[in-house]
């Protein structure tokens, strides 16, 4: 049991909405598929197993790409890549963002003003543009660089949210009571601030996860993501673009995969909000 769970439990019943179930199912499906690819795929994702640009068939559920590789296998592997990017980017964004946000919330007026202004400027840049700049500044496109770039680029949003949430908590009397009780700043963060802002942050992380998946697909589409033979959905889409009129299934299948994961994540986040939102404080 973590500190965050209890307040979710009693009094108001935990409402699990159908949307939340749909979201959780979609995300869960992708997770299962992604994990499965670690031990099994229908075909070798890099092997040429059929005719080029073959339409969907019983042997190749999603058809084949222009090199004759099984698209369904590549999409399955793509799920693993998308999820790694999401997890990695959210981990980086939350590590940087939560730290900076907490620092800003605790900082003196001047420091906070500077940090807040900096964050506002960073947020004004689209995440993708920022990530592209970071990839361009590094020594080359790789999956790691993409994760790092997306993580850094989205950390400002997490930082700003953390700062606002933490400030709200710090204004409560129980923080004054904690100081009077001799609790130090680190203790206040650990005991009071994090448990109270966590539910809202988690919801935001789920949304950031979806954005990171899209950002990675976009980077790959632009050739700035994981290089071949990594079967990123973005790369699959980009490759399918050339043949979209002759073999549209090449774009449709990865598109469905991408959209279903992102929609799933958004529904999941919305549902989490309903379950975890700490709005009922009184009574």
């Amino acid at each position: 049991m973590t500190d965050a769970t209890p307040a979710l439990a009693p009094a108001t019943s935990t409402r699990v909405t159908p949307a939340f179930l749909v979201g959780a199912t979609l995300v869960g499906l992708h997770v299962v598929v992604g994990l499965l690819t670690l031990i099994w795929t229908p075909y070798d994702p890099t092997a040429m197993t059929g005719g080029r640009l073959a339409p969907p068939s019983l042997a190749h559920w999603a058809g084949t790409d222009r090199l004759g590789r099984d698209l369904f296998t590549e999409i399955m592997v793509g799920a693993r890549i998308a999820l790694s990017v999401g997890i990695g980017a959210v981990a980086i964004a939350s590590a940087i963002g939560v730290t900076v946000g907490l620092l800003a919330a605790f900082a003196s007026r001047t420091v906070d003003d500077v940090l807040a202004a900096t964050l506002d400027i960073l947020i004004a840049f689209p995440t993708l543009l920022l990530a592209m700049l970071i990839v361009a500044a590094s020594d080359g496109a790789s999956l790691g660089t993409a994760i790092l770039a997306i993580g850094i680029a989205s950390s400002s949003i997490v930082a700003r949210l953390t700062r606002i949430l933490a400030r709200r908590v710090l204004a409560m009397d129980y923080i004054t009571a904690a100081r009077v009780s001799g609790t130090g700043w680190l203790g206040i963060v650990r005991i009071h601030v994090l448990p109270n802002i966590w539910p809202t942050l988690i919801v935001n992380f789920a949304l950031q996860f979806g954005l990171a998946v899209i950002a990675e697909a976009s980077l790959s589409y632009l050739g700035l993501g994981a290089p071949p033979p990594n079967a990123s959905w973005g790369r699959l889409l980009q490759e399918a673009q050339a043949t979209v009129y002759t073999a549209p299934f090449g774009a449709v299948a990865p598109g469905i995969a991408l959209v279903s994961l992102v929609i799933g994540l958004n529904l999941f986040a919305d549902g989490l909000r309903d379950v975890a939102d700490p709005t009922r404080r009184r009574r």
Binding site: D3, A4, P6, A7, P10, A11, M172, D173, Y174, T176, A177, A178, R179, V180, S181, G182, T183, G184, G187, I191, H192, P195, N196, P278, R280, R281, R282, R283
Partner: protein, 250 residues
């Protein structure tokens, strides 16, 4: 013995507004003190100074005769252990995500007081007349009056010598209020109380000494009995006249 002293204390925000001006105040063990003032009197700032949460712009706050030094950890630990507080809004003063047991135990844990935490929490709950099973529950399961009792339990768990109470009954219903007064009265056998309030009736029920604050200055101070029976300062007189009372019906 004097527990906490304010000597020639003034407080101002930046270069601007002076909130407190030339305050001399002595809190003595065994004599409950009421600090009475309306909005803008500076009573909240005075409370923060007394708790060591703010530092005076000039003058000195001292604990048992020694100046308060936020840098001296073991001194501050002794101060925090001896001086605790209860706040006005029982909805804001308890962390909604902590169990009551953890809320009450916070001073013990943070001040590293070597004691049986569970036993101390049980004892504190008993002294505020709350059932023991409250320990495993969360703040939202309690009413305003019960929450204020929990806050009081937290304030007394470290067995402090002084408890500062900031408008602790203002947010409560009359019948709840009178029960909290009775509880505080029982507690003041063991610990000295400083009640900060705009409500002179509430303060008068519990305090031997009074300080009347107006616009950052002490306009009158002394024994509660004397001030209530023969208020000297015009502001004190106005305050007493304005306090509504139930008319007497023969």
């Amino acid at each position: 013995m004097s527990l906490v002293d304010l000597t020639a204390v003034s407080f101002a925000y930046g270069r601007g507004r002076t909130v407190l001006d030339g305050i001399d105040l002595r809190i003595e063990a065994g004599r409950n003190l009421g600090i009475v003032g309306e909005s803008g009197s500076g009573k909240t700032t005075m409370l923060r100074l007394l708790l060591g949460l703010a530092r005076p712009s000039s003058g000195q706050v001292s604990f048992r005769g020694a100046p308060l030094d936020p840098g001296d950890r073991s001194f501050m630990r002794g101060f925090r252990r001896a001086v605790q507080a209860v706040f006005q809004d029982p909805y804001s003063s308890l962390d909604p995500r902590q169990k009551i047991a953890d809320i009450i135990a916070e001073p013990l844990r943070s001040l590293k007081i070597a004691t049986d935490v569970e036993a101390a929490v049980t004892e504190a709950l008993a002294s505020v007349d709350l059932p023991l099973d409250a320990a495993s529950r969360y703040p939202h399961e309690f009413s305003g009056g019960q929450r204020q009792r929990i806050a009081i339990a937290r304030a007394i768990v470290s067995q402090p010598e002084l408890v500062l109470a900031d408008e602790v009954v203002s947010a409560l219903d009359l019948t709840t209020r009178i029960r909290i007064v009775e509880l505080l009265k029982a507690l003041s056998a063991k610990t000295t109380l400083v009640l900060v309030s705009h409500d002179i009736g509430f303060v008068a029920l519990l305090c031997q000494d009074l300080v009347i604050l107006e616009k950052g200055r002490i306009v009158e101070q002394g024994a509660a009995r004397d001030i209530l029976s023969a208020p000297q300062h015009p502001y004190t007189q106005r305050l007493l006249e304005s306090t509504p009372r139930l008319p007497e019906f023969a």
